[in-house]
């Protein structure tokens, strides 16, 4: 789910940004990787928070 979300959002962000096709692709890939990495980091941070106190 997270990967699908990251892919869809990065396609839109990538297509909107920059000037050349290569820059757009690179930006889209960068955004995709950032989504995945931040998602995983955030998930691990939230994992250690004891919500039921």
């Amino acid at each position: 789910m997270m990967t699908l979300f990251a892919a869809l959002a990065s396609v839109v962000f990538g297509a909107m940004a920059k000037d050349t096709a290569r820059e757009r692709v690179m930006y889209g890939v960068k955004v995709f990787v950032e989504f995945i990495v931040f998602g995983l980091v955030l998930a691990w941070i939230l994992y250690f928070i004891p919500w039921r106190w």
């Binding site: 789910m1 699908l4 979300f5 869809l8 959002a9 396609v11 839109v12 962000f13 297509a15 909107m16 000037d19």
Partner: protein
Amino acid sequence: MVKTERMQVEEAEPTPGHAWLVGLAAWFIPGMGHLMLKKWVRAVLMGGAVWVCFFVGLAMGGHMYDLTNAQGTSSTLLQVPPMIANLGTGILFIICWLLGIGFGDDPVQAARVTYEYGNTFLLIAGLLNYLVMLDAFDIAAGRKS
């Protein structure tokens, strides 16, 4: 011409009426704005992403927001921001609203594991379409290539 003067000249230029029409079409049917501008690849990529996001959200049992089920003032206000996000999908939201798809308060649907994911995908579909709409508007207005 120095940069500040050039910026002032650019700001003084009125937005063409065509750009507003393109923006409206882009909101109403995701991808239509770029199709009108003959940006085929962008239309498929950006519009397609919105459509996929929306239908994946619906398939996961996501819920869309409107003001009809709100009970009381504070509840109504809380439903406005997500409703604005959902409304971004244009005709998709309107059709679902008219047919009552994705608007019901069904506990069985809410109990699905993918319910919250579906909600998020539906919200994101609308928000992404606002971005797509602004992109189409900027291209039509000549502010972007």
